[in-house]
C-alpha cells in the first residue's frame, strides 16, 4: 500500500518535471519517539490542495497542507518543524527528537527565461540563464540572429515580427520575460503584449528617460496601469554594469531576486538570518508580484 503511494508520487513528480503541473512532496525526515508518522513517509500535495498518500498522523498532514501554498509560492525546498499538536516551530525552538521534521520539496519544470531580442545582451543572458537552470527561449525578427548556431543553449527560438510572434505566445506564471531588442520601438511593441501577461517578471532595457516615455504610451493606450507599473525598467540591479555581459549579470541578479526573494545587498551588509527562520518571521520578498 505504502509502496503504491510512493510509486504514484514519483510518477507525478516525473510528470511535473516534464512540464505538468507543479507538485509538492512532503517527507517525514525525523519523528519524535513513539509518534505515529514514520520517517520516510511521503505525501504529495497539488496546487489545488488535493493530495496523494498520508504521513501517518492527521495533525501532521493538516500542518503540511496548511504550509503548502507558501512553499509553492517560494518554489523552494525547506524543512518545517512541527510538534505533536501540529504547532509550527522555528528550528531554534524545536527540541531535537521531540518534534517532527518534514521536508517540503516543490517539483516543477524549470522556469522559462523568454529573451525578446537576440543581440549582444540577449546572447549573454541566454548563457547565464541556461547556467542558472532556466529553460531559455529566444525571439527576434532577424534570421541571422535568431538561430540555433548563435543560441545552442536555447530550448526554443522563434524568428518573426515581434508583434506577430508575441501575440498569443505562451507565457505563464513561471516565465520571466526580458525585452532587450535592438531598439526601443521594438521593446515597446513587445512590452505592450507581455506586460499584461501572467509572467513572474517582465523587464525592459533602456534609459530612465526613454523607458518613462514607453510606459506613458502604454498607459495612454489603455494597458492596465498595474501591469505597466510592475515592469522592471530600467532593467537590472545597480552594480555599475557597462558591457553586454555585465548588463546580463545585472538583469539575471534582478530575476533571481524576484524569484527567490532577497535584499540585493552585499552579503556583509545583511544582518537578518534568512535560513532556519519560521515563515512568519521571514521577510516577504518585496519584488515578488
Amino acid at each position: 500500500m505504502a509502496q503504491t503511494a510512493t510509486a504514484r508520487i514519483l510518477a507525478e513528480v516525473a510528470a511535473a518535471l516534464e512540464g505538468g503541473p507543479p507538485v509538492l512532496v512532503a517527507t517525514v525526515i525525523d519523528a519524535p519517539a513513539g509518534a505515529t508518522a514514520e520517517v520516510g513517509a511521503k505525501m504529495l500535495v497539488r496546487p489545488d490542495g488535493s493530495s496523494v498518500g498520508r504521513l501517518g498522523d492527521e495533525i501532521l498532514d493538516a500542518a503540511v497542507l496548511d504550509e503548502a501554498p507558501d512553499v509553492f509560492r517560494r518554489h523552494s525546498v525547506e524543512t518545517v518543524y512541527v510538534d505533536r499538536s501540529g504547532q509550527r516551530l522555528s528550528r531554534l525552538d524545536a527540541a531535537e527528537g521531540d518534534v517532527y521534521q518534514v521536508m517540503l520539496e516543490v517539483h516543477e519544470r524549470p522556469a522559462t527565461l523568454l529573451i525578446v531580442g537576440a543581440g549582444h545582451v540577449g546572447k549573454a543572458l541566454a548563457i547565464i540563464g541556461d547556467m542558472c537552470g532556466f529553460s531559455v527561449e529566444i525571439i527576434d525578427d532577424r534570421p541571422e540572429f535568431a538561430n540555433a548556431e548563435r543560441f545552442p543553449e536555447a530550448d526554443r527560438i522563434t524568428c518573426g515580427r515581434f508583434d506577430e510572434v508575441l501575440d498569443g505566445y505562451p507565457i505563464d506564471s513561471n516565465t520571466y520575460v526580458v525585452c532587450v531588442t535592438r531598439g526601443h520601438k521594438h521593446d515597446e511593441t513587445s512590452l505592450r503584449l507581455v506586460a499584461p501577461s501572467e509572467a513572474a517578471y517582465v523587464g525592459m532595457i533602456g534609459s530612465k528617460r526613454r523607458v518613462g516615455a514607453v510606459l506613458q504610451h502604454l498607459i495612454e493606450d489603455g494597458i492596465n496601469p498595474r501591469a505597466v507599473e510592475r515592469v522592471h525598467t530600467p532593467i537590472g540591479l545597480d552594480i555599475g554594469a557597462e558591457t553586454p555581459e555585465e548588463i546580463a549579470v545585472s538583469i539575471m541578479a534582478e530575476i533571481i531576486r524576484a524569484r527567490r526573494g532577497g535584499s540585493a545587498l552585499s552579503m556583509r551588509e545583511v544582518v537578518r538570518p534568512r535560513r532556519g527562520v519560521a515563515p512568519e518571521d521571514r521577510e516577504r520578498p518585496s519584488a515578488k508580484l
Partner: protein
Amino acid sequence: MNEVFRELQVSLEAGTPAVVATVAATRGSTPRRAGARMLVRADGSSCGTIGGGCGEAEVIVAAMEAHEDGRPRLVRVDLTNPLDGDDKICGGVMDVFVERLAP
C-alpha cells in the same frame, strides 16, 4: 528532467533500488542549499552532488548503509570543525535525508 530523477527512473524501471540523498536544511555556509540531490547506486557509483568534498563522503557511507538495511536516515553533516583538516572549510551544517527507493 534533472539528472538525479532521470537516473532514479532508470534504476526503478530496471528493477534496482537506488538511494537518494537530499539536502533538507542548512545553516551557516554550506556548499549547496536545500534541495541539492545525489543518487547513490548499490555499487557505490553516484550522480548529482550535494557539495563534493565537504561532507559528501559521509553521505555516501550513509547511503551504502541504507542500501543494506533499507532504513531512511537523517544525516547531519557538520562542516564547522576547522581542525578536521578534511576540506571542511565551509563552516556550516547540513541536514541530509538519505532514503532508499525500491521499485
